[in-house]
């Protein structure tokens, strides 16, 4: 019960927030309502005009008068047509406008959220928020509200005209309404349940088919064709039954609605016929009522349908505004310091960090310094905190205790875009987008010229293979660069990092094995990139590690050893030393 009232409160709140997006169009909404009002009037006045035509002109054999009233009827019809067209398009137009700005706002909001939000929410859900949830609002914003108002106007006008002609006959006509209401109510309730079942069955059927298409080799290898087909027939049978059940409700409801409309007509003829004999009700009135009886059912049916779409639209908007209400944790500095041509010194001082409250620290008292131009390799097992260091450097997250400085300035004093512009980043998954190679390198930054890209590509020897592709730099990549080899993808990411000419390079090495030729190429390329730049590399390859100026050996969030390769192998009982000896021994064996 309290949940119900809570829901109500939420709903009004939602409507208020939706209104914010409709606001720019509010005068158009008013106009649309005005148009609907006029259209409803013109639509419902026609039977009334028919009555006049019959009673005043046809009965009096006045051809001229009949012609005039026909002109009036045609004018009303044309008027209604124009109003309806304009009105429908107008509502769709501002509906789409509202959706457009809402969709962009949601996208912008999600983009601005910190990385943690993306780790916690599956990408699919975020896409749903920006696309299909917005789409669900479409019916509410485009057709919904204005049409509901239109239907109400229509009902009002029909009742008005009916009662103005004969209140007795009006009452007789609407006598079937309670049955219609009850039938609609019954139908909605039954069909809602039946539809849920149908939806489940469709999902079950489709996922069975999908699964068996994907796993067909397994089915065939294990000779399970017949058995799985039996299973499918059972699911298929359930699916069929679910549909047949809904067909049953529809087979009752639609004929019933038609029967009721005809029943109302029968009542009109019976009662009206009697009344006509006694005077008071004319044939024209009878004719008008027969038309009204048919007209009357449409807006009532429309209303009950729109109520449902309204409900689901509100559910969607609730989900959308939940995202809009999410807070961003990483905040911009109020008066950011601008860092001009940094040298690239990095300092971590006693940094403590954890991702969530109530969880253990991921970084514990981490301190190290990277001098300008130094090349630092981080090694350690999965979960040791290597990637977290990168996340913190780029301020995807803010630390809890300690400080992180670049050229002696705390990174929290810089603006986010300034800070990040000093870094060149290469991620483990070698993220590429669908689009040309050029677009992938510049990331749609128009300030970067093609020449700059080619120059950067030369530096990492990527130019050679790009040149061989059809269309060279305009070669279109498929999703995630699937048409290129792993090594080639990595080289493109290198070019991307270089083209911005950053002072600091961050490289999360790919763990996946690449063939030895490409590996040589990649190694050489990364060496070239690192000269003259401060670099931090999460290392998986021995060549990278041995060439580093400093190696950070991480273990469970702590830095256990720091030093060059030479220093570390001399350390008694050192982690790094152990590793190295192990490797040496194995090499002797082979």
């Amino acid at each position: 019960m309290s949940k119900q009232s809570f829901k109500k409160a939420v709903d009004t709140n939602l409507i208020r927030r939706l209104y914010f997006f409709i606001k720019p169009y509010r005068w158009y909404v008013v106009l649309a309502i005005g148009l609907t009002l006029s259209a409803s009037f013109l639509g419902t006045i026609r039977p009334k005009l028919t009555q006049i035509a019959v009673d005043d002109y046809i009965a009096n054999e006045d051809l001229q008068g009949l012609f005039e009233i026909i002109i009036l009827l045609v004018l009303a019809l044309i008027g209604e047509f124009i109003l309806l067209v304009v009105n429908t398009y107008l509502t769709r137009w501002f509906g789409q406008g509202t959706l457009y700005s809402l969709r962009n706002a949601v996208f912008s909001k999600i983009q601005s959220l910190n990385v943690q939000f993306f780790d916690r929410n599956p990408i699919g859900r975020l896409i749903t928020r920006t696309t299909s949830d917005i789409e669900a609002l479409s019916e509410l914003l485009s057709d919904g509200v204005v049409n509901i108002i239109g239907d109400l106007f229509r009902i009002f006008f029909i009742l008005y005209f009916m009662f103005s002609m004969s209140w007795e006959l009006s009452l007789v006509t609407i006598a079937v309404l309670p049955i219609l209401f009850y039938a609609t109510f019954w139908f909605k309730a039954k069909v809602r349940v039946a539809f849920l079942e149908v939806r489940d069955q469709i999902a079950r059927l489709n996922s069975f088919v999908q699964e068996h298409i994907n796993g067909m080799d397994v089915v065939q290898l294990f000779n399970r064709e017949k058995k799985q087909l039996k299973k499918f027939e059972k699911i298929n049978e359930d699916h069929k039954s679910a549909h047949i059940e809904t067909i049953f409700y529809f087979s009752i409801f639609w004929p019933l609605v038609e029967v009721l409309a005809s029943f109302a007509m029968a009542l009109i003829v019976w009662y009206g016929g009697g009344r006509a004999l006694m005077g008071g009700v004319t044939f024209g009135v009878l004719l008008a009522f027969i038309q009204y009886a048919r007209q009357f059912f449409m807006p009532i049916r429309g209303l009950s349908e729109k109520f449902n779409t309204l409900q689901s639209a509100l559910a969607s908007s609730e989900r959308i505004f939940n995202v809009m209400d999410t807070e961003t944790k990483v905040e911009e500095a109020e008066n950011p310091v601008v860092l001009r041509s940094p040298k690239g010194k990095l300092e971590f001082q006693n940094v403590w960090f954890k991702y969530n409250e109530g969880e253990g620290y991921i970084l514990k008292d981490v301190s190290f310094v990277a001098e300008p131009g130094e090349n630092i390799a981080i090694v350690g097992a999965t979960g040791a905190g290597k990637t977290t260091i990168i996340n913190i450097l780029l301020r995807f997250y803010d630390i809890e205790k300690g400080s992180v400085k670049i050229d002696g300035t705390d990174i929290r004093e810089l603006s986010l875009s300034d800070l990040r512009s000093h870094f060149g980043l290469v991620l483990q998954d070698n993220a590429l987008f669908s689009g040309t190679i050029l677009e992938n390198i510049t990331l749609a930054n128009e300030e970067i010229t093609r020449e700059q890209v080619i120059e950067a590509a030369h530096k990492v020897e990527a130019h050679r293979f790009i040149e061989k592709l059809p269309g060279t730099y305009d070669y279109k990549l498929r999703e995630r660069g699937a048409s290129l080899s792993m090594g080639q993808r990595q080289l493109i990411c290198f070019v991307r990092a270089l083209v911005y000419n950053p002072q600091i390079l961050i490289l999360d090495e790919a763990t996946s094995s690449i063939d030895s030729e490409t590996e040589a190429l990649v190694t050489e390329a990364s060496e070239r990139m690192m000269t003259g730049r401060t670099s931090i590399i999460v290392a998986h390859r021995l060549s990278t590690i041995q060439g580093a100026d400093k190696i950070l050996v991480m273990h469970k969030g702590e830095i256990r050893e720091i030093g060059s390769h030479q220093e570390l192998i001399l350390k008694e009982d050192g982690l790094y030393k152990k590793l190295y000896e192990l490797q040496y021994k194995e090499q002797l064996v082979s």
Binding site: L77, V85, Y100, I213
Partner: protein, 580 residues
Amino acid sequence: MVLGALFLTGANFFLVWIPVLIRQTMDEVEALSDSNYDVPDSLFQTLFSSEAGIILAENSLYLLGSVALYGVLLFATRQTLIVSSRKVEFDMRNQVLEKLMKLPQRFYAKFSSGEVYVRSTEDINKVREYYGPVIMYSINTITRAGFVITMMYLVNKELMFWALIPLPLISVFAYWITGYIHKHSTIIQEQYSVLAGQAKETFSSIRLIKAYNRIDSEQVKFERLSEGYRKKKLRLDMIESLFHPALNFLIGISLIIVIWKGGAMVIEGIITIGNIAEFLIYVAYLIWPVAALGYTTNRFQRSLASWNRIEEVLDEDVEIESSSEAQSIDLKGSIEFKNVSFKYPGSEEKVINNVSFKIEAGQNVAFVGRTGSGKTTLIQLIPRLFDPVEGTILIDGIDLKSINLDELRSLIGYVPQETFLFSDTIGENIAFGVEDASKEMIEGAAEKAQVKENILDFEKKFETILGERGITLSGGQKQRTAIARALIKNPGILIFDDSLSAVDTKTEEAILKHLRSGLSGKTTIMISHRISTIKDADIIHYLKDGSIAESGTHEELLAKNGHYTSMYNKQILEEELAEI
């Protein structure tokens, strides 16, 4: 089907009686009032006791009778016609899936899984729409129009002509607009996918985008697509906003023509006002069936296209089938490849190039090599997931093609590279390849595959459901379940396609130990990237670009100091790095 058509015809027959009876009542009332009929004083008397009352009541009862019969027959129509469309759909689904089960992997290599999926789901839906609604609407239009036009003709030919004029327009208009809407909905759907794709790319690479300060340009890109979507949608909206008003307009015109021409005829004394009422209702009855005619013609074309796509699948050759003189064998387990080459359908490149080797019964053989060197393709030829383009493969000296396919596959326990488990219980998944596996057999297989303990940790043990509606197993657990699935068959030949990659070294050792002791005498073929898995094999083949580059035992290959050795060295280093 035929029954449904009869019901529908009957329903329309009774429907036509409604306006006829209304006209009759009105005419009789008019006649009564013209004949200076002595009207009773109260309405009650008029309706219930007078001569007029009897006439009214009689007509009204007929009317109600027609209405009721119409309703019942309409109900019966829906219950037969639409229900039978679901039955047709049911049969079609079974038929398509049965075919899919029979089609060789060559077919699945040719078509993307998405395409096959669309054909076996959405296309069937579209064809069903033809069988049900389209047939119903067509019969409805024809019979109803038949009855209504006959009645109109009987009443007054001239008025019939006038009343029918706008109707063909409605039909053509509905046809055109349905086509337009369909075409533009497809365009909009495409733009929608592009929009969602953009959101996906941005959100899944958010780190990169933030690091490179590209948030604003991503926003611009998205807004551009969003704007494109809005524009395309509005183009459709333009036509859609024309649809209902225009239909409404055409209906209105028909009615006005009836009142105008009919009114003139009433004045001339040719027809009665009752006839006008009758015609107004006739026209109303005809509108929707006529509009539906346009709509169904359009639908029909589309379901025809879908039907063609389904037929393509149904007509696809089942290339790999057991030959007629298939023989059964008493398996010992030797396998021989003689000059075998293979290329995938639609590709020119030979993935396997003239490969020959022999595996003795009971041997343990391993294939190594880089990704893309053809290892998986090679061993897929053994259970005949594909047939070689050239050369022959023999088991115990018999050509694979002359062995009954079902029997051949039942002899082989295969653990594929990509572990595929079904959304079913773990027990069902393990027992996948055997009829009526006992509980002991399932548990035994799970134990041998070192996955029993994990399974017993789940609350529902072997009854635990996997997949979307159930739990997700870790990569290693999945692989071990797939191994159990292969072991439970107690096959003579066991094939592991990189099936221990996600299993940690200790568990791997335990599984291998079991295989060595429990499977002595059985032929085992293994693909692995991990040296530790295969170093004890009787013979190791190193594949390079679809050919065997090196063969020998672990020691022999290391001594050669070739591909295998360099792979070995690299791996040792990587392993230690990971262990720090």
